[in-house]
Symmetry: C2
């Protein structure tokens, strides 16, 4: 029996994507060769990369003037690449600190220039999104983390800034309708709503590059990868292919508008149980609750053994909360079916 | 019918590895979950990473004091990471220029300090390995490329230097017996003898790190990845898993000593045909011929149509030479069976 996979990432992918990815490892494109043993410059793979990039632009409704790249190194590599590419020599950047990932991002930025933390929710263990903060007008960019997996918080609105707007969307890209053109740079590790670990999507407004005065190593320079259409060196073939399959699955489903509706339904069902069942308490501030990662705990820890036994028996996987928050975390990414949330809620109803 | 895959990279992998990798995409570890949808910090995947690292050390016969890492970004990312980690502020590095990859490596090093090209074979289109050059005594390290895929040349001996010795072994690691302890740092993209594109193996002598006086971004600092056992951030799960399977296949076969014998047999067979058949001519200088990439051309281009038709009909794939050299390139990496070389040689015998 396939499990109900609430893993925080790497996480569930559509079953049909897994099937196609598995098949391609044995025989890709009916060429009697594996996807992973052919040249990345062969026509069949170049077509995969082109399609992946074009699906990204189509699904996010990006106009001309934006480039999309598939890189390596995860969001962690983007923490330094954003600064390297966007922070001027003797420049300054603003960061909104909404959790561990924001903190790691701003730590790397400090190697490149001055960092202004415009607000932080660290005072309350990052269980809310700071509001009403001031963004200095002289910063090269403002960096945001749209969704905070560990704490289950999510930015519902995005601030305006005079500088560039940069957003780490690793854990909620392709999950909800946003005007993506309000950002100058977006990055996202593939391993939530897009594909397996090993690829990182970067979207950038072309006109913002090349203005820092820095000499950037080739592999860290976005312009390198744009010019070579993500083929400056051998790309992570399998991760790009599987991401392409997931993006195609999303398009066939009706795109972001369609998945957003399902995601809202899943989140509403789960948060309702947390709010209505006195045996549970949510972690994140209500107005900042994530539609991707639902964090909660038992009000009475004496119920832990029973609850853990029940969800394990129900075939649920990956429900343990992050060690820094404790309790439980149900990650309900795009590929998680509503049925899995129903199974979880039914288990929760047995705890009173 | 499975093809005879002479692709230069990504390249052929053992059929049993492809089968196991394909299976794991659907159900890994009999947990009813895909390899690519579980946490990289779960016990089953941590065991994969540990095994991959331990197989590397065992197969290369590395003593205590060496660390092995699986990173992202390919050898191209190592071009800058080696300089970042090993070249002192106001330091100097020596490079042996044996081809396009050496050139790219030294180009990146120039961003970090002075680069001394100790010798180059560019004068003859990189068809040989320079010898009898002088290595300055004041360089932080000497950088070598052990095998040059494009030209089909390979270093048979490695020079001694007073500084550190760094080697890009992307295209011949695990293919021949070498005293790997003569190197202070070795790196290799996975996509030749190890696994799919998307993982990069780095081996470093621990004591050489942390001595440059540079502040290194976390993701570019080898020490970060050593301390976190290649789990500082989400690793390229599929590429590491498949590399582990290939390393296990190599161990079961008898390790590097066993594969070296087979590789020598394959290379001898193919080079003999090139030398004995007047219809063909080799590209690389005989004493520098690679046992991984065999570059050759037709002596009479009028035979091209006939030859191309014959090898295509024989189910051969990936024989076209690199655009900068032309002609043909038969890449005969570890996983390519002797039988495939026999098929190619039989086709060549039909050209006279």
């Amino acid at each position: 029996m396939k499990k109900h996979n609430f893993s925080a990432g790497p996480c569930i992918l559509p079953q049909e994507v897994l099937k196609k990815a598995s098949d391609a490892i044995l025989n890709f494109n009916n060429d009697n060769l594996s996807l992973i043993e052919i040249s990345h410059r062969s026509k069949p793979f170049v077509a995969v990369m082109d399609k992946a990039i074009s699906l990204v632009k189509e699904l996010l409704n990006l106009p001309e003037g934006y480039s999309a790249m598939f890189l390596q190194g995860g969001a962690s590599m983007q923490f330094l690449m954003t600064s390297y590419n966007l922070m001027k020599v003797d420049g300054k950047a603003a960061y909104l600190d909404t959790g561990a990932w924001s903190s790691k991002a701003l730590k790397e930025a400090k190697l490149f220039g001055e960092v202004d933390v415009v607000a932080s929710s660290k005072d309350k263990g990052y269980n809310y999104i700071p509001k009403n903060y001031t963004i200095p007008s002289d910063t090269d960019y403002l960096h945001l983390t749209s969704n905070n997996t560990i704490y289950g918080t999510q930015l519902k609105d995005f601030p305006k800034t005079e500088g560039l707007l940069v957003c780490d969307m690793s854990s909620d890209i392709f999950s909800r309708q946003i005007d993506f053109t309000q950002f100058d740079l977006i990055y996202a590790g593939a391993q939530k709503n897009m594909g397996p670990a090993g690829a990182t999507l970067v979207i950038v407004k072309d006109e913002i590059l090349g203005k820092t005065g820095r000499k950037i190593p080739s592999m860290l320079d976005y312009q390198t990868h744009i010019d070579k259409e993500s083929m400056f060196n051998t790309p992570p073939v399998f991760a790009v292919f599987t991401s392409m399959l997931t993006l195609q699955w999303l398009k066939d489903l009706g795109g972001i508008a369609a998945i957003e509706k399902i995601n809202e339904e899943k989140a509403a069902l789960l948060y309702a149980e947390i709010d209505n069942n006195p045996a549970f308490v949510g972690f994140a501030a209500k107005e900042d609750r994530s539609s991707m990662n639902v964090t909660f705990n038992l009000t009475d820890q004496n119920n832990q053994e029973k609850f853990d036994k029940l969800w394990n028996e129900a075939g649920i996987n990956g429900l343990k909360g992050h060690r820094s928050v404790g309790g439980y975390r149900a990650s309900i990414y795009n590929a998680l079916p509503l049925e899995s949330v129903e199974v979880l809620v039914n288990v929760m109803k047995q705890i009173k």
